[in-house]
């Protein structure tokens, strides 16, 4: 599991997760995700290099999303692999935190929320 954080133009934060967000991985992302959620309002979470995620890892993203939404910000998910996407859509979380396949569209969506 690895997490890297990139600050993009327009006050957009891109969080790149990779590897397995399993029990150990979920614990590793908990603190950095909480820091981002507490300080940023426009967040794109790039899942393209994530091989595994179940409800524990999804919880970390949901908790962050609650905090960002409460500040009228927006968080979106970018390009999950099919197996990870199945987990997200099975739980219905994609209806609350949208999935984008195109990075430019994802960035535009979160910038729009900054008004």
């Amino acid at each position: 599991m690895a997490i890297s954080i990139l600050e993009l133009d327009g006050n957009v934060t891109k969080v790149v997760l990779s590897g397995r967000i399993d029990i150990a991985g979920a614990r590793e992302i908990e603190m950095p995700m909480a820091v981002i959620a507490g300080s940023r309002r426009a967040v794109v979470v790039d899942l393209s290099a994530v091989e595994f995620m179940a409800s524990l890892g999804l919880r970390g993203i949901v908790v962050s999303a609650k905090s960002i939404f409460s500040k009228r910000g927006k968080i979106v998910l970018l390009m999950p692999q099919p197996q990870v996407e199945e987990v997200i859509t099975t739980t219905g979380i994609d209806e609350l935190i949208p999935i984008y396949r195109d990075e430019a569209e994802a960035i535009a969506a979160v910038i729009a929320a900054l008004g």
Partner: protein, 146 residues
């Protein structure tokens, strides 16, 4: 009877023990097809985390054991714990959350457990919760030569 494999014993309150779950599965399930392994891995994590959350009192702990049995037509994961009775097959389905406030991790976990298992059997045996998660194998794994 094939190799019954190695049982993993987890202290539910020990984070390092819990983190051994996936490496254990990597080894035990190495002969299974990739596509099947993914769903099994999700179900395994959900079943174990469900036991961590429901079987033991807050700040309490107990033992969870996990086993994998591979037979010609199916693979089965057994998750047992020594905690209070909790039957995830009887718990109401959380459904799809209408808002993030409603999206509770326990509910999401049960949704995933049901989605990925072919069938789930719950038994309460000798003061232990015993879950059997079954997954059909698309083809029988190769037999080693006699």
């Amino acid at each position: 009877m094939r190799d019954p494999g190695n049982e993993l014993r987890i202290d539910s309150a020990n984070a390092e023990d819990l983190e051994r779950l996936h490496p254990w599965f990597d080894i035990e399930a190495r002969t299974l097809p990739n596509a099947l392994r993914h769903g099994m891995r999700v179900a395994l994590e959900e079943a174990v985390m469900n036991a961590v959350m429901h079987a033991f009192p807050p700040n309490g702990s107990g033992e969870i054991t996990v086993r994998l049995r591979i037979s010609p037509g199916a693979a089965a994961l057994f998750v047992e714990d020594s905690g209070r009775a909790f039957d995830p097959t009887a718990a109401p389905s959380a459904g799809r959350p209408a808002s993030l406030q409603e999206a509770e991790p326990g509910g999401l976990g049960l949704t995933l457990l049901r989605h990925y298992c072919h069938d789930i059997t719950y038994q309460r045996v000798a003061e232990r919760n015993r879950l059997m998660l079954r997954f059909p194998l698309p083809i029988a794994p190769l037999q080693p030569p006699p």
